[in-house]
Amino acid sequence: MRSVKEALTASRRAPLLSILGVVTIAFSLFAFGLFGLVAINIRKALEQVEERVEVRAFLGDSTEIESVAAAMKDIGEFPEVARVEYVSREQALERARKEMGEFADVFEAGVLPASIEVYLKSGMRDPTTVKSVADRIRTYHFVDDVRYGEEWVAKLYRLRNIATVAGLALGIAFAAVAIIIIGATIRMTVLARAKEISIMRLVGATDMFIRLPFLIDGLVKGVMGGLLALVFVWVANRVVNEYFIQTIFFNREMIFLGILGGAFMGVLGSLVSVGRHLRRV
């Protein structure tokens, strides 16, 4: 309780320094937040593209509908499969005409084969799984051909992996920068109270007693900086939505994690700054 009071008193004694600290933390977390927003939007876009991954099995002309129904039941029971749809020759023609617009007349009845469209569960759309499902479907004797866009599925996954690794690396870099900035901000407070700290040590205050108000200070500044950064990111997201492209915002869990992250960075920054100072004095 005394440490909380001490932390608040320290903030009241140097309000400008405290405000500067919170704003600096907010800006560093804002950069982190913006990057996070870009990352989740890229991820969302990739997921939307990924949802279109499907395996299409083209059926022979003389395939009996009973055989197709049995195969569909079998395939539907594959653990990777979300749902299976049958597309008759007529439906295929209709769909093609709709997609081709002004060239609709090019297609004549009976040109396109009937097919089974297999949609995979989320998390089961990687190149290996897709190929494995396609290979199993290919074993049905009435299946003439199986297509699933092998090349673009591989490219999509490569892109996703690159985005994940780059996201992780940049995220860690931004977090490190944020921790350094928070540490520097807390260090200003520590230096402003250097004399007080040296007296505290001389009269026998424990290091934990000295550290605690700074840790609370870091925690409070981290949370306040996190909240302010959240407001900045929200405004930036609104602007982008209004004038550029439709984007998604963080969900409640992400917001909570972000503020928790700010608090964690605040405490870590304080711990490093005060620890360094106490080792020196």
Partner: protein
């Protein structure tokens, strides 16, 4: 109570600060530490309040050894020491009373006892009437008295004073020194590092003299021997000649 055994201290940049220092300070003793700048006085004091550790040898203070002392133990030891510096080390934005109270607050003293203890300490140093004054409103001597009051607040068994009169004029020096004598008379040991040889010569307290990190004189060991810092006969005669000529 305090014992240094073959203590040596070296700093990476400045080299040897202390070499083979051994002495003891008994309960209630008053000891001057003298010697020129850089002779190792402050280093010895730092070793006593365990702000630093010797490279060789051992320092014992009230049963705590420099070889084994760690964070919590050092903090507890410092609560039983009084430490005073030349530059007072007061918090400028707090009153005399708040500066003294600070030492109790940060060591978790029971709230109920704080006011009485602070009042008693300020009275002991003769500053009860200045309790609400800020350091900038006080003279150097008064500020040093506040620092002494703060150091007395936990009833220390020893008061460690590093050049406590170094920033004071002669009158204030006499006042602060008398205060330290009174504190010593009440049973608290005092170890005082000083450059002020007049102060040393005017009293009969034990004197330990250092030079280049070595103990060159201890009046407890050879009470009749002249101190290395005492003027030689030639210097005394030369000083007398100068006085006569002027």
């Amino acid at each position: 109570m305090i014992r240094l055994t073959n203590v040596a201290k070296e700093y990476p940049r400045s080299g040897t600060a202390l070499a083979e220092i051994s002495f003891q300070v008994r309960k209630g003793e008053f000891v001057f530490l003298t010697g020129p700048s850089g002779s190792g006085k402050t280093t010895i004091l730092k070793l006593l309040y365990m702000d630093d550790k010797p490279n060789l040898g051992e320092v014992w203070v009230n049963g705590v050894s420099s070889l084994t002392a760690r964070g919590g133990e050092i903090s507890r030891l410092r609560r039983r020491l009084g430490i005073v510096f030349q530059d007072f080390r007061l918090l400028e934005d707090r009153t005399a009373e708040a500066n003294v109270r600070f030492a109790l607050e940060v060591t978790g003293a029971p709230k109920a006892s704080i006011a009485a203890k602070v009042s008693r300490a300020l009275t002991q140093v003769g500053l009860a009437s200045k309790a609400t004054s800020y350091p900038r409103e006080m003279s150097g001597g008064e500020q040093q008295r506040v620092a002494i009051a703060r150091s007395l607040i936990n009833d220390p068994f020893v008061l460690i004073a590093d050049e406590p009169t170094g920033n004071l004029d002669e009158r204030a020096t006499r006042g602060v020194f008398q205060l330290l004598r009174d504190i010593n008379a009440s049973g608290t040991a005092v170890i005082m590092a000083t450059h002020d040889l007049d102060l040393v010569r005017r009293s009969n307290y034990r004197t330990i003299e250092l030079n280049h990190g070595r103990l060159v004189f201890d009046s407890a060991e050879s009470p009749l021997a002249p101190r290395p810092s005492d003027p030689t006969m030639a210097e005394v005669e030369a000083a007398a000649d100068t006085r006569e000529k002027s």
